[in-house]
């Protein structure tokens, strides 16, 4: 379980504080693959970044004993001038992986970048970068993977592979993902959290959540 305890989060702007969450308390249940549904600007990515510890709330805290991935977005933490291999090793070092070489082999196998793995990431196609980013995170055994519209960029084959990898891990690991494509959410998730006007609602049944979201 991930407990949000009295979270208040705002961004300062010229028009004053833009509140995303105000005194929000919520428990995100474990053992569910959760799709986060919400309109543009509802705060999905902010929620993600708060969960991952990339950002901090203005008040309140987030309590969990699970290990959460970083928010795997299109190219988080990937430096365009470093090669795929260097990026992989950087991520491994930062996350404290014991056997970096083994991890590197896993990423190579999953990302299927071939020789490009030793070229700077800036020469990659737009489908290859998220493949590397996703491979880097799935190569580490987290309890929860936070995935921000990464899988939507890949081709069908990569999606199948991502799905298989997550399923394989699904006994121990879960995914929380953001996407605007309902098909994709249906593919990976079994329940939903609808994010609307700073309030979170959990739906055990994914279809019910999607229906609610589309009715908004």
């Amino acid at each position: 379980m991930i407990r949000l305890d009295n979270i208040t989060k705002y961004y300062p702007s010229r028009l004053g504080k833009q509140y995303i969450f105000k005194d929000l308390s919520f428990d995100i249940p474990s053992d569910h693959n959760i799709g986060i549904l919400g309109a543009n600007g509802a705060g999905k990515s902010t929620l993600f970044r708060l969960l991952a510890g990339s950002e901090y709330a203005n008040q309140g805290r987030i309590l969990t004993d699970l290990s959460l991935s970083w928010p795997v977005a299109l190219a988080t933490g990937i430096h365009p001038q470093m090669t795929g291999r260097e990026n992989t090793r950087f991520i491994a070092k930062v996350n404290g992986i014991a056997d970096i070489d083994e991890y590197e082999r896993r990423v190579i196998k999953f990302a299927e970048l071939g020789k490009q793995f030793d070229l700077p990431v800036k020469s990659y196609s737009s489908g290859m970068r998220p493949r590397l980013a996703f491979a880097c995170s799935i190569g580490i055994d987290f309890d929860v993977y936070l995935i921000d519209e990464v899988t939507s960029v890949g081709d069908a084959k990569f999606r199948r592979k991502a799905k298989a990898a997550l399923l394989e891990r699904s006994e121990k690991a879960n995914v929380i993902m953001v996407s605007h494509e309902m098909d994709e959410i249906r593919q990976f998730c079994d329940s939903a959290i609808v994010l609307h006007k700073g309030e979170l609602t959990f739906y055990n049944d994914l279809e019910q959540g999607i229906a609610q979201y589309q009715a908004l």
């Binding site: 989060k9 961004y11 300062p12 970044r49 991952a52 510890g53 990339s54 950002e55 901090y56 709330a57 203005n58 290990s67 970083w70 928010p71 988080t76 933490g77 430096h79 001038q81 470093m82 260097e86 950087f90 991520i91 070092k93 930062v94 996350n95 404290g96 992986i97 014991a98 056997d99 083994e102 991890y103 896993r106 190569g139 580490i140 055994d141």
Partner: protein, 261 residues
């Protein structure tokens, strides 16, 4: 299966700073000249200026060879400015990496500062080798004082860089102010002159500047006859202590909100 190491806070810090440091070396200079340029360009700069000045201004300045006099001045002011801007810039440059919760701004600052320190050590070695081949005297009367001055100056630059870096997270324009402040530092820190060249009644315009203290004390450390009138180790270390405390205190209260904007 990948196993994650159970690391304590210090080990995470060590790993992250190391990873950022390597990344900095790898990406800081990405053209064909690569890292070498960070070392060659200051050596050439220092060499040309010092050599020109020693031709024009005579062989000795206050009992110190003019070349050494100038080399110390330029080397120190350059180390100070580059370390300060490197540390300050490290926060904004690595902002995307704070997505990893292990990476904190201060790790980026320390990695950037260590990188600058490393290149400067190579620059110093390069200058010493040149002086050796030019047949200059390499005697240092107080090596410990020299090391202490260099280290204190580095600490000061890192503290100020951290302070500016944090401020720049909140107000971007602070970066422009920093660049504005940096420029006159080159001319008021005793790079081209000694405090002894200035009439005593005007000292108070200059002697508030800790960088001037560091440079003059280093010249004194190289040749004791140079004298250390008007500058003091106590003042320099006091300033460094105050600024490192202050910048760490500001960092401690502000970094979480800084990266969350």
């Amino acid at each position: 299966m990948t196993t994650l190491l159970k690391r304590n806070k210090w080990e995470i810090w060590r790993d992250v700073i190391f990873a950022l440091f390597v990344r900095e070396i790898r990406t800081g200079f990405n053209d064909k000249l690569g890292l070498g340029w960070a070392i060659i360009s200051p050596i050439v700069f220092i060499f040309v200026l010092s050599f020109a000045r020693s031709r024009i201004g005579g062989a000795e300045t206050h009992s110190l060879p003019t070349f050494t006099f100038m080399a110390i001045g330029i080397l120190f002011i350059q180390s100070f400015l580059l370390t300060m801007s490197g540390s300050a810039g490290a926060i904004r440059k690595n902002k995307a990496l704070f997505a990893f919760r292990q990476v904190q701004p201060i790790s980026a600052v320390l990695a950037g500062a260590l990188f600058e320190l490393l290149t400067k050590v190579f620059v110093i070695v390069g200058i010493i080798i040149m002086m050796y081949f030019m047949g200059m005297e390499l005697h240092i009367s107080d090596p410990l004082l020299l090391l202490a001055c260099f280290f204190l100056l580095w600490m000061l630059a890192v503290s100020l860089g951290l302070l500016f870096g944090i401020a720049e997270l909140f107000v971007i324009e602070v970066g422009k102010v920093r660049q504005l402040v940096e420029r006159p530092m080159f001319f008021i820190s005793g790079t081209f002159f000694s405090l002894q060249d200035i009439p005593r009644e005007y000292w108070h315009f200059l002697d508030w500047n800790p960088v001037l203290h560091a440079i003059e004390l280093t010249r004194f450390a190289v040749r004791a006859t140079y004298g250390s009138e008007g500058v003091s180790m106590g003042y320099l270390s006091g300033i460094v202590l105050v600024f490192s405390f202050f910048s760490l205190a500001v960092y401690h209260i502000a970094w979480k909100q800084g990266v969350s904007r």
